[in-house]
Amino acid sequence: MSETTTRRQFIDRTCRVIGLTALGGAAGLLARRASAHAVFQVDPVKCTACDLCRTSCVLSLSAVKAVNEFSKCGYCRLCPAYMDVTSQPDEKGIPSGKVCPQDALKRRVVGREDPDDPNNNYYEYTVDEARCTGCGKCVKACKPPAGNGSLRLEIRYDRCVGCNECGILVTCPSTAIVRVLTPGLSPTAAPGGEPHA
């Protein structure tokens, strides 16, 4: 056997290395897909907050909830998703009505509170998921340009039962329910959540 490598041998070894690398990559990709879980999720760009998520989920209390993306939120005092700006103003001229029919959108002052002038306060808005029905009224009110668009609807995986008969997917008029691969995430049933008969 010759000590010097012939051109044929070089090409042969190179092809073997490339083939093995490609095989390993494909195997890794398949393993990753096998370990991932396909779940439904709401595409916030397509979602029109039409209220059908509230009624179309197989659960009696929809697995779709409003969530607030704090990095986008303006921490407004006069949040259009919290206050119904068309409602009757109180004695201070602030709208008295709330957008959420379940009063599920809560707020608290963050940072240093100025009790004398509420204009100087920032408010953090969170969703009480036990109350939220996923109607999307707050999401619609927060859409730009009225708000910053920080509120969006999301399928909560701790509530979704993974029934594979997603009523929301079928009903959604804007095809905003998409199937996404989420590695390592497993949708589980919510405590007390029960599917429709």
Binding site: G74, C76, Q88, P89, P145
Partner: protein
């Protein structure tokens, strides 16, 4: 037509003709009488107003809307006279329109499509030049220097577009979110929405001071993350404090000297929504022009800050985040609608 075909049958008594006349006029008289009764009821002073839908009716709103107030007759009226830039016109912006400024001879400088475009006369595109991608605002000095702001940076150009300088704005760990700039004498004023203040720089980028931090919150309240301002002839800075629904006025040394505006959804002089006004411009006579989003409209406030004029939402795209405004030397209001990518001129009528 034979009368007997449709009329009453002839009667043998002598009263027949009179009865026939009565019978003919009776329906007409009834209708006239009914109209009269209705008219009297409607026109009667203090008459009952039309019935409002009850709260429990199926179509009732969840909250009682505020009582609608009749639009007051404002002392001034503006009408759109010219569309300088728009679809199909020379110099049309195809992707973006993100800034507006007026030169000393009322030439219109517009920022969009990563270019500065200069329009002279009645919309003649005079020149263009490239600027950094995603530039956010521009300003023109009285000596025709042009400043362009982008994220964390200000660039300076000559009137022909030759780059003459620039500097980083903000701090090293927190670059400025530059949303407005003005060139005032030998200074560049930069609205930094990230730090919620207006920064004063010399032309080399050395910071000379800060405007807007001497208040309880250490800066403007900006839920919409945008700060706009303009400088009047006496050097007073008028800035949008959107979270407070105010325009606040500051001296260059950072002392607040005045403010006006409050939230309100019914009176036209108030500012609507979560955070307004979003843009501001100063009129040469000291009046102030403001622009609001959601409801997209432009208003003119006099020197005593009473509302003088309102340019209604029918003139702008309802989805506008901003309406860039500027006022020329003759008091005409120039607006840039970034959604429709149009620049229009409004004149007093």
């Amino acid at each position: 037509m034979d009368e007997n075909e449709t009329g009453p049958a002839p009667d043998a008594t002598g009263d027949a003709p009179r009865e026939r006349v009565s019978a003919r006029w009776l329906p007409i008289a009834s209708v006239v009488g009914a109209v009269g009764v209705v008219a009297a009821a409607v026109l009667r002073p203090g008459g009952a107003p039309p019935a409002a839908p009850s709260a429990g009716s199926p179509g009732a709103a969840p909250h009682v809307p505020p009582p609608a107030q009749p639009a007051p007759a404002l002392p001034q009226r503006y009408a759109r006279t010219t569309v300088v830039v728009g679809p199909g016109k020379p110099g049309e912006f195809r992707r973006s329109l993100s800034g507006l400024a007026l030169g000393p001879h009322d030439a219109i400088y517009a920022l969009g499509d990563d270019e500065v475009r200069v329009f002279e006369g009645a919309g003649r595109l005079a020149r263009t030049w490239k600027v950094p991608e995603k530039a956010t605002c521009l300003a023109v000095a009285s000596d025709l220097r042009v400043g362009v702001g982008s994220s964390g940076r200000v660039d300076l150009y000559s009137d022909t577009g030759v780059h003459s300088g620039g500097f980083a704005a903000g701090t090293r760990d927190k670059p400025a979110d530059v949303t407005a700039i003005r060139l005032v004498r030998d200074e560049v004023l930069v609205a930094d929405a990230a730090a919620r203040v207006i920064r004063r720089y010399d032309l080399r980028g050395t910071e000379r001071g800060v405007i807007g931090d001497k208040n309880k919150t250490g800066g403007f309240m900006l839920p919409n993350r945008s700060l706009d301002f303009d400088v009047d002839r006496s050097g007073v800075v008028h800035a949008t404090d959107t979270g407070r629904h105010q325009v606040t006025s500051w001296t260059l040394d950072g002392t607040m000297v005045a403010s006006f505006g409050k939230f309100g959804m019914t009176k036209p002089e108030d500012f609507v929504g979560c955070c307004n006004p979003v843009n501001v411009a100063v009129v040469p006579d000291g009046s102030i022009v403001t622009a609001e989003k959601m409801v997209a409209r432009v208003k003119v406030y006099g020197k005593d800050r009473t509302l003088l004029a309102l340019i209604g939402p029918e003139n702008f795209d309802p989805m506008c985040w901003h309406i860039y405004v500027a006022v020329d030397s003759t008091g005409r209001i120039v607006t840039a609608d970034p959604e429709r990518r149009t620049i229009a001129v409004f004149e007093r009528s």
